[in-house]
Symmetry: C2
Subunit: 245 residues, 2 copies
């Protein structure tokens, strides 16, 4: 029965599988996404654009392995915790001839359709992390400055952000990994605003912080600032875990 | 740079993409999964076993479309809301020659590797839903009676259940869609026990229900039962939505 169905129906796709990594980082001021440069040639004209770090998988590797390998090869990053969040397989993913030509040249074979398994990581951007990015032609781009990317990579980033919002709703601890050990209310608020993509009222946000038993006000305040020095807070993981059940 | 990498490295996978549908249903007593029968031939011997409803995708369809199409073709089910929950792409998925032979016969082409995109649906099992299952050789199997399935389908079901638990933690309303409009505390408890895979203390559970403002006790009680007639409850969606923020 299944055999018969398969033979009467439209052709099966000649597929390639790729992994793409959405690494979202916070540098204390902005949320950024890690992109790599791509060289394209179209109609004899060479130009550069940007894409997510991603590539086709090899025969001998699992999806998670492929994601870690590709991220390392294209950006130099290692030991970044990647979580699979969604497969993207629209038949329109390869509708832009520019993308198909680029990939067919890279692979030296015909490309009909590529299903990509998208991975996500949330990181704190610091010097250690950035070591080696440049030689890989990888760079951080602020989310509101991301232009038209290859394939459906703009869509993948949008869905990654939706996933992060949902995740943070139920696991607020994830945000504190992105902040310095001691942070100001304003830094935490900025991060909330960036993640949720909307401005948050300062006074309401102070109430919200007061409700979070696991955000502990410290005696210490900012030093060497022109304006009124802001208080520092810290995230208390033990209290957080207790409030979680 | 990326071109060079691709050419020096191990071969790219010759991939096929499938979708598999994990439809989990509650019939008032048990949690069941919808499986289809498969005929295999191995060493001249014909035998039957079970698998999730799933198949390869066609060239002209998106992943979500493929999932709906395959579920309908293999089980007759229509209009079931399917959510993509995870891609399974271990290179070991096709390590059992039985599975590869079955698929190669069905497809009439060589199969090296199949990445499957798994979809999930939670349904209430009732007569309307079951119309047509039999002629498709599809059937409901209680979760604790599921034997060895094709490919990695046992793993896919386990991960689907983990996904459901996580989902229900943050969206308890999902459970009430599986119950009759009026339900007893015992039915709700059974459902919790099945979803979380562990027994729940009766008295604690009554306290838990009392805490759920959106579970409303009714005056009505069970009729025609030998033991003490249990009270009915209903789920109040309006109150639920209010408590959600």
């Amino acid at each position: 029965m299944q055999n018969k169905n398969l033979m009467q129906k439209p052709p099966l796709a000649n597929n390639h599988i790729s992994v793409d990594c959405v690494v979202i980082g916070f540098d204390g001021e902005q949320l950024k996404v890690l992109l790599v440069r791509r060289m394209c040639e179209e109609g004899g004209e060479v130009f550069h654009d940007m894409k997510l770090p991603g590539s086709l998988i090899y025969m001998d590797e699992d999806l998670d392995e492929a994601a870690a390998r590709v991220l390392n090869e294209l950006t130099g990053l290692r030991n970044v915790s990647l979580v699979q969040f969604k497969a993207f397989g629209s038949k329109d993913r390869t509708k832009n001839p520019k993308d198909v030509h680029w990939l067919e040249r890279a692979m030296q074979s015909k490309v009909e359709r590529i299903v990509t398994i998208a991975y996500l990581s949330l990181v704190k951007i610091d010097r250690a992390l950035n070591r080696g990015l440049e030689e890989h032609q990888a760079c951080w781009v602020a989310l509101d400055e991301v232009g038209d990317l290859a394939f459906d990579h703009n869509l993948i980033i949008r869905e990654a952000l939706a996933y992060i919002r949902q995740y943070v709703d139920t696991n607020p601890a994830a945000l504190f990994d992105l902040l310095p050990r001691k942070f100001t209310a304003s830094q935490l608020r900025t991060l909330y605003e960036l993640v949720y993509g909307k401005s948050v009222d300062v006074r309401n946000f102070h109430k919200k912080i007061a409700m979070m038993e696991y955000v502990i006000p410290l005696e210490e305040r900012q030093q060497g600032v022109a304006h009124r020095a802001a208080r520092f807070y810290k995230f208390d993981k033990k209290i957080y875990n207790k409030t979680r059940r």
